[in-house]
């Protein structure tokens, strides 16, 4: 007979089931990639790795990637720090709208940014043509290294910015007043007092930027041209531009994961050496900055905003232009929408069908894992928690490869199905969802659960009637953010779709590659509208603004 104190209960079964499912759907495919990377022609070989390090053509992509990623991370930090500092310390006209718009620019798919900078500064770009026509010379090319860094920096500044804004809210004014009373003000105070307090946040944000920039596939694919990064190499060797070499693609994937993991562990180590927690009794009140300095600050903030929003404006504008053989020409029309309306409907339908299914699965799993890690601390839930973090260091493209490798033969034939799209998207977002839900769960008073139990509620009733409703506002805001990242995800699903499961972002990518710029712009506009509507919904939720972490 089992006593009530015995911890084997419904929750243990849930933990076992989740662990089993996760092992099957995530760990096993990744292990397959690992095995493939060491297997050439059916036996152990290092051929894939040898090939990678034998030619500059291949290992050069790694140095390219690292160069791009380091530049983007540093630049993003350099741009975002003053931005967050100004927004916190000084009164900026339209501050709330600015924050909302910065968030919107972060949430738009990165490859749309790449694509619209091509529309602006590409060979046939609007600005390029304007300069050529009026000034008579060709402006420097947007393709290659500079373009990738520009697009990714603009894309990722908002990410660090939201992190910093969140951290700033936890700094108590009294700390600033104390340093002021000791004669430390202005920039000296920003560097000596504020920066150390923000250090853990800066590290966390930088890691995220690093991971995103390193794994990004759409941007270098569209704007990189000859400048190839590792994800582009993985893609081309996996789909076989020259020849299909799956063990080579696997080896490169393993190298990418190793680099990301190393950076991840380094960040962990750096953060663990200085952990402290703060809560502000009195947050910083922005003050008016008069004179030329006020003007300068406004120029900085609005200047960034203009650059960040330019791609979005360009895309929407382009979608209403006339096209000829896919190229944008003078004059306006709705042809881009009308001609591709059937595709648009199909893409939107797939985006909603696949996206919402993935979202529901994601939320359910995140709640269960969060509950297990917070309330049922133990070996099993600890393992589960660690395992759910794995996709964090695995680029989307590699998750795609892993799923294709594992589920294109044998007992689980899933490629090309609705299910594999859902699984891929849920896996991609799971680390973020689990983290944010776990944080929510930690805030829930444990005695609330015991109260429900003492009143006669079973475990299931307690979960459904108490825990989930009490966390609902936070879960909902998190779900909306997940939704936005799911509908804008590209690289994870790139190897997994077919025409019946093609989503909006996959459609945009396909149209850009086919050179149908008008259709691509129309689809991008639809995706942007969906994204904006979701964000507006998020803002309308009670406490929604607080949850703006990605």
């Amino acid at each position: 007979m089992k006593g009530p104190g015995d911890r084997f209960d419904g929750w243990t079964s849930v933990a076992v089931a989740l662990t089993g499912g996760y092992l099957l759907l995530v760990i096993w495919p990744l292990v397959m990639v690992l095995i493939n990377s060491f297997a050439g022609g059916g036996e152990f070989s290092l051929a894939g790795f040898e090939k990678f390090f034998s030619s500059r053509l291949y290992y050069g992509t790694l140095t390219n990637s690292i160069l791009v990623t380091v530049c983007v991370t540093v630049l993003a930090l350099v741009v975002a720090f003053p931005l967050a500092y100004f927004m916190t310390m000084f009164r900026i006209g339209g501050s709330r709208s600015i924050q909302m718009l910065i968030l919107a620019s972060m949430m738009s798919p990165p490859f749309i940014g790449a694509y619209s900078w091509i529309l602006l500064l590409g060979n046939n770009g609007m600005i390029t043509k304007f300069i050529e026509d009026t000034l008579g010379f060709k402006p420097p090319s947007i393709y290659g290294f500079a373009g990738i860094v520009l697009v990714l920096t603009l894309q990722l500044v908002p990410l660090i910015f939201t992190y910093l804004m969140g951290a700033w809210r936890t700094i108590d004014v009294s700390l600033l007043e104390a340093s002021e009373s000791m004669g430390i003000t202005g920039w000296r105070r920003a560097v000596q007092v504020i920066s150390p307090l923000l250090w853990p946040t800066v590290l966390a944000g930088s890691l995220l930027v690093f991971v995103r920039a390193f794994a990004d596939f759409g941007t270098p694919m569209l704007i990189g041209q000859g400048f190839r990064t590792v994800p582009v190499l993985i893609y081309s060797s996996f789909v076989g531009e020259v020849s299909i070499d799956k063990s080579f693609a696997a080896a490169v994937s393993v190298i990418v994961i190793a680099v990301t993991l190393a950076v991840f562990l380094l960040q962990r180590y750096l953060v663990s050496r200085r952990t402290f927690s703060m809560t502000a009794l009195r947050s910083i009140e922005p003050r008016r900055l008069p004179g030329w300095r006020g003007v300068a600050v406004h120029i900085y903030v609005y200047g960034f905003l203009t650059l960040a929003l330019a791609p979005l404006v360009v895309v929407v504008f382009s979608s209403f232009r006339k096209t000829l053989y896919g190229q944008l020409v003078d004059g306006f029309s709705l042809d881009s929408y009308v001609d591709s309306q059937r595709d648009i409907l199909r893409y939107v339908g797939n985006t909603f069908g696949i996206g919402i299914t993935a979202l529901i699965i994601l939320v359910v799993i995140a709640v269960l894992v969060a509950y297990l890690t917070v309330r049922r601390k133990g070996a099993l839930s600890g393992t589960l928690d660690t395992m759910t973090m794995v996709p964090y260091v695995v680029p989307g493209l590699v998750i795609g490869i892993a799923l294709v490798t594992a589920f294109s033969q044998g007992p689980f034939m899933l490629t090309g199905t609705f299910a594999i799209m859902v699984i891929a998207l849920a896996i991609r977002r799971l680390p973020y969802s689990v983290r944010s839900t776990t944080a929510l769960m930690y805030q829930l008073n444990p005695s609330i659960e015991e109260a429900a139990t003492s009143l006669g509620a079973s475990k299931f009733r307690t979960l459904v009637r108490i825990i989930i409703p009490a966390l609902a506002p936070g879960i909902l805001s998190g779900a909306i953010l997940s939704w936005v990242t799911i509908i804008t995800e590209l690289s994870t699903t790139l190897f997994l779709y077919n025409t019946s499961t093609q989503t909006l972002s996959l459609g945009i990518y396909a149209e850009v590659i086919r050179g149908q710029l008008g259709t691509a712009a129309a689809l991008s506009t639809v995706l942007l509208v969906l994204t904006m509507l979701s964000l507006i919904l998020l803002m309308k939720l009670p406490g929604g603004q607080k949850e703006l972490r990605v």
Partner: protein, 353 residues
């Protein structure tokens, strides 16, 4: 057999630490039973093992004669009131209180009536539709109380329900808890570390220390006749008397003796100041010099250096005239009933030889 009985309960955390070390208590129907002890002595652990939130390492718990340890917590039918209120933040006051009635298959009408009655009892009837988030601590705890009572449980457990409230509200609410408990007549185990609260509210008190029971008794027994040195110091305060010729002389004068006595002590409120310095017939007199005077309104504490050591004398209703200056010489009267003797293990022993 008692209504609730806990027999020889132990609870071990980790390899060697015993949070409960052989606890046995028996609670009768309708009784208000209090667990009193310093923080960390195991009160919550005992309460939670009765509620079923943690299981004992060994021992028995029976309720109404049935073994409670095999019943899962949500089927134990035991109401619980929490220190941090634990109100459901997303449910209205009404729904909070009604929560426990729904799985009990009570009809909608009956739920309405019973919740209304419970809310009236805790004086929250006007707030039934509000959400608890914005309510004060006292109001939230009233919800907790109504919620635990309304299911008409077999037993009511309260874990320091008042310790997050301010002093005035604490006194007000403890009177209410006491009255309501007597009305509904549900056996209640109440946990507190506040001796005054325990004395005010309980039918019986169980004083705990380091996982063991020191003494079980009515408030009068616990305060007036403490069986251990721990109980005497935890419930009230003690002046310990220095051993020596002066103490022997005083005990002789009072006709007291205890061969096994390791220490002698006397409560500040059992000492009196002699106004004229004239000895009374049945007491001993100690004289000494005032080293501190603390005025507390209802009472004043006078610290006096005497031959048997430093004594604190409690003066009730100190008027202006009662004020003493440091350095003043005073005489203290000790009645024969005042000194208590404790043996080497801290057990109370007879002071009459």
């Amino acid at each position: 057999m008692s209504y609730l009985s806990v027999n020889n309960a132990t609870k071990q955390f980790g390899e060697s630490f015993k949070a409960l070390n052989g606890i046995s208590v028996a609670v009768e129907r309708g009784e208000f039973f209090t667990l009193l002890g310093p923080s960390g002595c195991g009160k919550t652990t005992l309460l939670r093992s009765i509620a079923g939130f943690n299981d004992l390492t060994s021992g028995e718990i029976t309720l109404g004669g049935a073994n409670l340890r095999v019943v899962p917590p949500h089927q134990r039918d035991i109401g619980m009131v929490f220190q941090d209120y634990a109100v459901f933040p997303h449910l209205s006051v009404f729904d909070n209180v009604a929560f426990g009635l729904k799985p009990r298959k009570v009809s909608a009408e009956a739920i309405k009536a019973r919740v209304a009655e419970a809310l009236a009892a805790v004086r929250l009837d006007a707030m039934a539709d509000r959400l608890p988030a914005a309510m004060s601590g006292g109001q939230q705890q009233r919800i907790g109380l109504a919620r635990a009572m309304v299911i008409n449980p077999q037993l009511l457990l309260m874990d320091e329900p008042l310790s997050n409230l301010d002093a005035k509200l604490r006194i007000e609410l403890r009177e209410e808890i006491r009255d309501i408990q007597k009305q509904v007549n549900i056996a209640t185990i109440y946990v507190t570390h506040d001796q005054e609260e325990a004395l005010a509210i309980s039918d019986r008190i169980c004083v705990m220390n380091a996982g063991r029971i020191e003494q079980i008794g009515t408030p009068q027994e616990i305060y007036g006749n403490p069986q251990t040195q721990f109980v005497a110091t935890f419930v009230g305060t003690l002046n310990f008397l220095n051993a020596g010729a002066a103490l022997d002389a005083m005990l002789g004068q009072l006709n007291l003796s205890a061969a096994a006595a390791k220490s002698w002590a006397v409560r500040p409120e059992h000492l009196d100041l002699l106004v004229d310095g004239a000895p009374t017939s049945d007491g001993a007199t100690l004289s000494g010099m005032v080293s501190k005077f603390t005025y507390l309104g209802r009472e004043a504490h006078l610290q006096v250096e005497t031959e048997v050591g430093r004594l604190v004398v409690q003066l009730a209703n100190p008027g202006m005239a009662a004020t003493k200056a440091v350095g003043e010489t005073v005489s203290i009267n000790v009645q024969p009933s005042a000194p208590m003797a404790f043996d080497a293990e801290g057990r109370r022993i007879s002071s009459k030889g």
